[in-house]
């Protein structure tokens, strides 16, 4: 039973981790908590479903690529329409935050209006294939999700370390104004970071629905807050922090609901968060925010 719970916890943790990176990426650059991320999570799952059932002739790969492109575009558009005008005026992040809440409301409502509230079957990979890992039944999709997450994490750390765009993003997170003065295309780069964040949300959204084999409009809200908590737990703005936070939270949750009760598990995940923050106010891996006089 313990092993089974761990396996489930790790697969759920992968989903949290992917979404959490999206939050973390944007936070590290703009110090903005992008509330629209959870809505993009839902929207891309709905787009995937719509494309799969109507257009792409049931090819999962093709649908997936199209969904990623759409999610990237949505992320970029969100930045241009809702965040950039506020950012350029030099207004406080709080205003951008409200704007992102507005975007979240709009996206969720559109999904609800077009998709309806009923649960629907979601295409999945290798349905009905299981591997027995020392008594823990592991489905093929769980293994796929875990490996995909690890691959994406590897890619992300390569991207931010060695790629020109990635290095640009890191530079932005160090000092936005200096980048501007250096003649870097700051706006484009921030747009890209929103696009990348949205694509990560799209990957986790689609993966989560594949994992559940079904899609309903409440998938986003369940994950959004948890991924957010995971981001903070690990240390906001840190890639590895988001990942570790995601896994810790998911495993703790599964253990508590497996051995105790499900209501207690929600309690525990936020309890852990508060405890960690009291002991280590910047999260597990977070660096102390430098205060400049």
């Amino acid at each position: 039973m313990l092993l089974q719970i761990l396996v489930n916890g790790i697969s759920l943790g992968s989903i949290y981790a992917l979404t959490a990176i999206g939050y973390s990426l944007i936070y590290s650059i703009l110090q903005l908590i992008n509330m629209s991320n959870a809505a993009v999570f839902l929207t891309s799952a709905v787009i995937f479903y719509a494309l799969y059932t109507s257009l792409t002739g049931s090819s999962i790969l093709l649908t997936f690529i199209l969904t990623l492109m759409a999610a990237g575009a949505i992320g970029y558009i969100i930045e241009v329409i809702a965040i950039r005008p506020i950012r350029e005026k030099g207004d406080s992040n709080t205003y951008a935050l409200i704007s992102s809440i507005g975007v979240k409301t709009i996206l969720e409502q559109i999904c609800q209006g077009t998709f309806g509230s009923e649960i629907k079957q979601f295409p999945t990979l290798l349905d009905g294939k299981y591997i027995d890992l020392f008594g823990a039944r592991t489905s093929a999709i769980q293994i796929i999700i875990i490996t995909t997450t690890l691959l994406i994490l590897g890619f992300m750390s390569w991207f931010t370390q060695n790629n020109r765009v990635g290095r640009g993003l890191r530079a932005l997170s160090q000092n936005l104004n200096a980048c501007h003065l250096m003649g870097m295309p700051v706006n484009t780069l921030i747009g890209v970071s929103f696009a990348v964040g949205s694509m990560l949300a799209a990957v986790s959204g689609v993966a989560y629905c594949m994992y559940l084999k079904s899609i309903s409009i409440s998938v986003g809200s369940a994950i959004g807050n948890k991924a957010f908590a995971a981001t903070v737990l690990g240390g906001i703005g840190e890639l590895k922090g988001a990942v570790v936070g995601g896994y810790i939270l998911a495993i703790a949750e599964n253990l508590v609901s497996g051995y105790w009760s499900m209501s207690a598990s929600n309690f525990i995940s936020f309890g852990i968060l508060i405890l960690v923050l009291i002991i280590r106010p910047t999260g597990i891996f977070g660096r102390k925010e430098q205060k400049k006089v």
Binding site: M1, Q4, I5, N8, L12, Q109, Q112, G113, G116, S117, E118, I119, K120, Q121, Y130, R137, S139, Y208, L212, K213, S214, S216, I217, S218, V219, S221, A222, I223, E253, N254, L255, S257, G258, Y259, S261, M262, S263, S265, N266
Partner: protein
């Protein structure tokens, strides 16, 4: 200056407080002979959650109401000569208590159109705050899906419901599971809303009365998507039957995830969940699923045939999508409309006479069997067991109507 102004203001307030008691009594005193407007049409407000996670229920109820209207239209409306139309105004309460109460005030305050009655809301939690408003304004509230036992007392004399209370429903389900299906090792999963908590309580009570202790009893919060941990826990107890009092979306998730972790047993779902949606999504996993359902449907019943024909005519796509069956909430919406029409036709043309008339409903031929309002305007209905079986390669719900002849569920459950 500021002090002076604020003093003035406070004075004004005190004066108005003193004066306001009078102004309140002014409205709504003239008892009109009829609630119909100048054209002889009757207006009905409908408040349902058209957005949010319960939107599909609201849509089905709306379908049922519209089918009822269509039937009336075919008969030439209330007076039979094309006059006396019923006009429904839909409001979206988002399944939110605050929104619902605001709508209730709007309905009550509205003079043009003047509403004869209000239909809704969907959830008990939304119907409650509305109930006191309708009670005080003396407007009939037809909360057709509100099953909570203390709803009707709250609403004074003005509330109606088409749902049996959980003490009856859950006790019957327990009796079926334990005595008819012969299961002794039962685990329970229920949603932690008021409906789930009540069903769980009465189910457990009846089971204990029948000498069965539940192996596990797991509660989950609304919006939960991942049930694997509690299913793993339940799997450890080796149940013969897992009873789910859950919303239909959750049933689909639970059943699928049980398959993922390899939990093999029989499945029983609540009356809230018997929809074709479950069938569609579960595919072969649905086979063998039991469901308890309030329905005495005889397929050759003329009431049902007429209903089904109209359903096919108005909502052909939906009918086909749902495996060629009508849906439970549409049935209830239709029943609601039929009883409303019946009450209006029998003299219920003002709010007071409508309420009095509807309360006398007895053995009314509805689409789920006959409808009677018992003491306290609570509906009395029998419930039947049905099961998903594979027929000609297709999954179908099969109703066991004959069970009642051989197995008196109410006697076993100790309800008689």
């Amino acid at each position: 200056m500021k002090k002076l102004l604020s003093l003035l203001l406070v004075l004004l307030m005190v004066l108005t407080i003193a004066g306001c008691a009078k102004s309140e009594q002014g409205g709504g005193e003239e008892a009109a002979e009829t609630a119909a407007d100048a054209n002889g049409d009757y207006h009905i407000a409908v408040s349902l959650p058209f957005t949010g996670t319960n939107a599909s229920y609201a849509e089905y109820i709306q379908m049922g109401l519209e089918i009822g209207l269509k039937k009336l239209e075919n008969e030439g409306w209330i007076n039979g000569d094309g006059t006396g139309k019923l006009i429904l105004d839909y409001y979206d309460d988002k399944n939110d208590a605050t929104e619902g109460a605001t709508i209730a005030e709007k309905v009550v305050a509205s003079e043009d159109p003047y509403y004869l009655l209000e239909i809704g809301s969907f959830a008990s939690g939304v119907s409650y705050p509305c109930a006191t408003i309708y009670r005080d304004a003396e407007v009939p509230q037809y909360a057709l899906t509100c099953s909570k036992s203390d709803f009707l007392p709250t609403s004074g004399d003005w509330g109606f419901s088409l749902s049996v209370t959980q003490d009856t429903a859950a006790a019957r389900v327990a009796a079926y599971d334990i005595e008819y299906l012969g299961k002794k090792n039962i685990a329970l999963i229920y949603s932690s809303d008021s409906w789930g908590l009540e069903t769980c309580k009465y189910y457990t009570e009846t089971a204990e009365k029948l000498g069965v202790t539940l192996l596990a009893s797991e509660k989950y919060e609304d919006g939960q998507q991942d049930f694997q941990s509690i299913l793993t826990k339940i799997k450890e107890t080796n149940p013969e039957l897992v009873m789910c009092f859950c919303a239909e979306n959750d049933i689909v998730l639970i059943r699928q995830q049980a398959e993922t972790i390899g939990l093999e047993c029989d499945w029983q779902v609540s009356s809230k969940s018997r929809t074709s949606n479950v069938l569609q999504n579960l595919g072969d996993l649905g086979e063998g699923l039991y469901g308890i359902y309030a329905r005495t449907k005889d397929l050759n019943d003329p009431v049902y045939i007429e209903y089904e024909d109209l359903y096919k005519e108005l909502y052909a796509d939906k009918f086909k999508e749902d495996n060629n069956t009508t849906q439970k909430y549409a049935d209830q919406g239709y029943n609601c409309m039929l009883t409303v029409i019946w009450a209006i036709k029998n003299g219920g043309v003002t709010r007071q006479s409508f309420r009095d008339q509807l309360a006398t409903l007895n053995e009314f031929p509805g689409v789920q069997g006959s409808i009677t309002f018992g003491p306290g305007r609570r509906v009395l209905q029998t419930q039947y067991l049905s099961q998903i079986v594979k027929k000609d390669g297709e999954l179908k719900w099969v109703n066991y109507e004959d069970i009642l002849d051989t197995f008196d569920v109410d006697a076993v459950a100790g309800l008689k």
